[in-house]
Subunit: 222 residues, 2 copies
């Protein structure tokens, strides 16, 4: 059902038919991006296998065959969604960490990481990471390896804080296992958290820190 030897999606779309003008060229990036955004939303809502390429085309105001001008396959489009999602997450995380003092306490470092993770996961336009979390199975091996490298880099940033907290006796579980449990706990929030509800991202972060390292944030207790 899926090609055994998928061709990797390249940044430059293949040219067929008449060559586009310069103005249209610039627009091509927009059309491609529109497909990625539409696919992210649909893949999240209906799943990869439950979404047709016609659904995606229609959501991006195109005809049924047009997505294949930009992507070699439906699977390549899924990979592009995940790649962009992780690139955004990595950038967001790097920016959050940059605001921390050089020798911040590991508690503060973890709080910053958790808080920014919730923003990426639950904030506006947050379809990309859920798709990555739940449609992993539909990638082929090469694509999985490429996304895996991105998630390893992202999650690796958490380890120094977890190790420091373990050394300080604040985190009782082994850091490597704790990381797996913690990401499970946080990522599961996409299943139950409602942005309009009474739990703010700040409170959510405080509760997570309370659970994992017993940290009682003075700003929110109850």
């Amino acid at each position: 059902m899926r090609p055994a030897e998928p061709v990797h999606d390249t940044s430059a779309p293949p040219r067929r038919g008449r060559p586009p003008k310069t103005a249209a060229e610039r627009d091509e990036g927009n059309r491609r991006q529109a497909l990625i955004t539409a696919a992210a939303r649909l893949f999240r809502t209906k799943g990869f296998d439950g979404t047709s390429t016609r659904d995606i085309a229609a959501a991006a105001d195109m005809q049924s065959g047009s997505p294949f001008y930009f992507f070699q396959s439906k699977q390549a489009l899924l990979h592009a969604v995940m790649q962009e999602g992780m690139a955004r997450a990595e950038a967001h995380q790097a920016q959050a960490l940059a605001t921390l003092p050089a020798r911040a306490a590991p508690e503060d470092r973890l709080r910053t990481l958790v808080r920014q993770h919730f923003e990426v996961l639950l904030g506006p336009g947050s379809d990309f990471i859920p798709v990555m979390l739940y449609e992993w199975r539909s990638l082929d091996d090469a694509q999985r390896a490429s996304i895996s490298a991105q998630t390893a880099a992202y999650e690796g940033e958490w380890m120094p804080a977890l190790r420091a907290l373990h050394r300080a006796g604040r985190l009782k579980a082994r850091p490597a296992v704790a990381r797996l449990f913690i990401f499970g706990a946080l990522n599961w929030a996409v299943q139950w958290y409602s942005p309009g509800g009474k739990l703010s991202l700040d409170e959510l972060t405080a509760q997570a820190l309370a659970l994992f390292i017993g940290e009682t944030d003075p700003r929110s207790s109850g």
Copy 2:
């Protein structure tokens, strides 16, 4: 794509064609069960939308149209998988709790709950609960409500222990939020835990308790 008014699956399969003999009648339960077991494995591996009813029929040694003798629709079969998975989980949990002393410490009660949850989730023949966790979206509203009642009963059993631990100061997060985070942490293990690896279910349980309530189990420290 899905029927707007799904007919609920009844325990007794509808009779069409020649009435089966008594011996065949007894066998009908086996054939039905074979479909559920095969569907659980396939839905888990390839997803609901990625699995065809022909796949399931073949895995149960039937012809392509035969599943519809036992189930009104593919969706009804999915519902049956989840229903049976939760029934098993509830029974397994009840049995585990029955072994506890009447006034066991909440730490022991939580440890027992976590341990038996891992068994249901990661033990042999553990396709049912992962399907329930990840194919939720493919149920219709009525089916969702029925499964939701089962999970509420199952998860409700955890609250007394969590509340007691919160009162005792062992659990710092609010019990209701802690429950959501904890189930996320545990359930995510289906994505990374390998039964053949070096982490036993006992160690996994100990690490989870260490993370959530700082409990250091004397039987396994590291």
